[in-house]
């Protein structure tokens, strides 16, 4: 026995030495599952079918953008494998698809999954598994909660941020305004209202009437009449597209001409303002953070030139008018930026660390001056918007880029 043992001992020593050396050699390259020398696997969940399938353009654009990155050599020599599944906007299906991505496809992270309740369904799972749930495509403010959910991060300006910007604008332009608010009675409407009140701060009393409606109501006409009767001279309409159009129409019908603000959600020209009436929509205010793909003022813009070239080469069928295309392009660009910053340390922990240290990053399709900044205690990448006014047949940007941060 002793002889055998003494023969085995050098072997063990050699083995230990070998592993020590190889781990030293790997020290600069660190991987979690989903990343290797040649590939980075990114998961994604989109409503390609079901009630929200209009947003599918975002996922398709992101895929096309990653194809472009791969064609140009990938990220530090690694190709991106983008695995995108359909959840039909149904939370239980989102859970199934997220688990499939994490446990079966072994992705490094899930990027840009769409929807508030769908992402809410997988947030706990992702944080328990410690898999990054990056750049969630939803405007709810709850994605910015690094203390409780250190593996989840939003991307677009939250509804709270947008509402704060309206509050800032009103206080500056119309300090003695009487504000009437019409809001949808759900998380979207309530987030806005919260942001508006935070923005107004001590001057919350400027709001003379808060009128809630339910998305199941057929019409909001009565509520608009009530708002007029309250004597408000600023009408903030926190509504989904159908109701935004109704609100604009009704206000004109009863000859009420307050300063009107509609949410970015409903700022579509063809979806809201045209059906309501171009004439009566003149002068309506809103805010945005992306360049409008159909606006000729960006034809000479370097970023948009790159964007149009990308569309022509990689996604010729995309509709330039679709805001989802501009959105998907900028979100995918942010993702690529984070992966570039990770270098050869492609662990999930480092991905979150790099995502939380973006400094003044400006994707091509965001408005000039809007920059993405994150920090370990700030998981809200985009917090700036610019006001815009409807004039003629399109939105006209005006004023400076406004930050929603309270200190400024």
């Amino acid at each position: 026995m002793a002889a055998v043992r003494s023969q085995v001992a050098p072997l063990w020593a050699a083995l230990v030495l070998c592993t020590a050396m190889s781990s030293e050699a790997l020290a600069q390259k660190k991987y979690d599952s989903g990343a290797s020398d040649t590939e980075i696997k990114i998961g994604n969940i989109m409503p390609y079918s079901g009630p929200a399938s209009a947003y599918a353009a975002i996922g398709k654009t992101e895929e096309a953008y990653f194809n472009k990155v791969n064609a140009e050599g990938g990220i530090n020599g690694r190709k991106i494998k983008f695995i995108s599944y359909d959840d039909g906007y149904s939370p239980p299906k989102t859970v199934e698809q997220a688990r499939k991505l994490v446990e079966s496809d072994n992705v490094l992270l899930i990027f840009g999954s769409l929807g508030t309740s769908t992402n809410g369904a997988i947030r706990k799972y992702m944080n328990e598994k410690k898999v990054p749930q990056l750049f969630v495509a939803s405007g709810a403010s709850k994605w910015n909660d690094p203390k409780q959910y250190p593996w989840t991060m939003g991307w677009q300006p939250s509804y709270v941020s947008e509402a704060r910007i309206y509050a800032k604008y009103i206080m500056k332009e119309k300090p003695d305004a009487k504000i009437g608010v019409l809001y949808q009675n759900d998380d979207f409407g309530k987030d806005y209202l919260k942001g508006l009140k935070e923005g107004l701060g001590p001057k919350t009393s400027m709001i003379v009437l808060e009128e809630a409606y339910d998305s199941s109501e057929p019409t909001i006409d009565e509520r608009v009449v009530k708002l007029k009767a309250s004597g408000a001279d600023v009408f903030i309409s926190i509504t989904s597209p159908k109701f935004a159009a109704q609100g604009i129409k009704k206000a004109a019908e009863i000859n009420w001409h307050p300063m009107q603000i509609i949410s970015n959600v409903s700022a579509s020209v063809s979806g809201v303002l045209e059906p309501a009436g171009i004439e009566i929509s003149q002068g309506i205010l809103s805010a945005t953070y992306t360049k409008d793909g159909s606006d000729p003022q960006w034809n000479g813009d370097d970023g948009m030139k790159k964007f149009y070239n990308f569309l022509a080469q990689y996604q010729p069928k995309a509709d330039k008018l679709d805001a989802g295309v501009v959105f998907g392009y900028a979100a995918a660009q942010t993702m690529v930026k984070v992966l570039q910053m990770c270098g050869d340390d492609l662990t999930r922990e480092n991905v979150m660390k790099q995502a939380a240290s973006l400094k003044d990053f400006a994707p091509d399709t965001l408005l000039p001056g809007i920059k993405i900044n994150t920090a370990p205690d700030d998981f809200a990448p985009i917090e700036q918007l610019q006001m815009m006014r409807f004039k003629g047949k399109r939105w006209e940007l005006f004023g400076d880029i406004i930050s929603s941060e309270m200190s400024q």
Partner: protein, 339 residues
């Protein structure tokens, strides 16, 4: 006889002769399937276990609909509403009242039974497509009811509720997924046995008598009103249990999870599995879980169309669903044995 009633009436010529066999699998086959369900999870990934759990849960919900439609001949497109009530009952009790998950399941069953029974009362006056429409209304209303303001404190409104997944008890060396699978399996087997016995019992024969001919049934002394509402209640109760288990497995409830799409999926599962054939419920559940995924892998943009084509093929080739395949298989085996 409406087209819908024909689907139910066709193909159970055998029911009257040997009701037991027409409704279930043979003992041998059942044991083999059970053994497979017990052993497979030990060798697969957690994700597959999760999918198998969902299969059992949807299977239960389809089974419940099968009792209602295949058993008593009534239609329902409102199963998603009962499923939602069950899911929310468990979620609210677990998260707000800190009640053990296992205890919430009988509570859900009782709540849903009562709900279904009460809904069945006025629905008694309706039959065929009209009943289907009334239940359809229930399914459409449910997600909005769950968003109501005065319920928001408990239901979490649009945001929904996050449910904590239970650990395996008594320090069993099992992952949460595996424990939940076996827990679901126990509940499923218990309900399956209960359902088989129910349909074989006096009540079950009353259900079927009503399904085949209501007037004949009542002239034989069957209390039509009682048994019709009872079928509704039992079906809702089982669906509620499925909903509870679903909430625990998915760890999340939100109004968007329980739309009319779910009700239609369950209906589809029943037709694919074979109306009135209980084991078919689980095959139907497999269809509604896995076929959309297959369709998606064939074409992302056209997944709905691919699913439609597959569904069309099933209905065209085997109109009585999995049951027809099973009968064909049985005949084939019989022939082989003779040779």
């Amino acid at each position: 006889m409406s087209a819908a009633e024909e689907v139910v009436a066709e193909g159970h010529e055998a029911v009257e002769a040997v009701p037991k066999r027409a409704m279930t699998l043979g003992t041998g086959t059942s044991l083999v399937v059970l053994a497979a369900l017990l052993i497979v999870p030990m060798f697969v990934k957690n994700f597959i276990i999760f999918q198998m759990t969902m299969l059992l849960i949807y299977g239960l919900a389809v089974l419940a609909l099968n009792i209602l439609t295949g058993g008593s001949g009534q239609f329902s497109l409102g199963q998603s509403a009962f499923y939602a009530v069950g899911a929310y009952t468990s979620a609210v009790l677990m998260e707000h009242a800190n009640i053990n998950y296992a205890l919430t399941i009988p509570i859900s069953a009782a709540v849903c039974f009562a709900f279904g029974y009460l809904f069945g009362k006025p629905a008694l006056r309706l039959s065929g497509v009209y009943l289907a429409l009334a239940t359809f209304a229930l399914a459409t209303a449910m997600p909005q009811l769950l968003k109501l303001n005065f319920l928001e404190h408990w239901t979490g409104g649009v945001q929904g509720l996050v449910v904590t997944k239970p650990d395996a008890p008594f320090g069993l060396p099992m992952s949460q997924d595996m424990w939940l699978y076996y827990f679901t399996l126990i509940v499923t087997v218990a309900i399956y046995i209960f359902s088989v016995n129910l349909l074989r019992s006096r009540s079950g024969r009353a259900f079927m008598a009503i399904r085949d001919n209501e007037i004949a049934a009542s002239s034989m002394g069957v209390n039509v009103a009682l048994y019709k509402t009872l079928a509704f209640g039992v079906s809702a109760g089982i669906t509620g249990v499925a909903g509870s288990l679903g909430a625990i497995a998915v760890q999340f409830v939100a109004p968007d999870s329980y739309t009319i799409t779910l009700a239609i999926s369950l209906f589809l599962g029943m037709v694919v599995g074979g109306v009135g054939w209980l084991p078919g419920s689980f095959i139907g559940a497999a269809f509604i879980i896995f076929v959309p995924n297959m369709a998606e892998s064939i074409s992302k943009g056209l997944s709905g169309a691919v699913f439609g084509v597959l569904l069309f093929l099933v209905i065209y080739l085997v109109p009585h669903g999995a049951r027809q395949v099973a009968i064909l298989g049985q005949q084939l085996v019989g022939k082989l044995r003779k040779n």
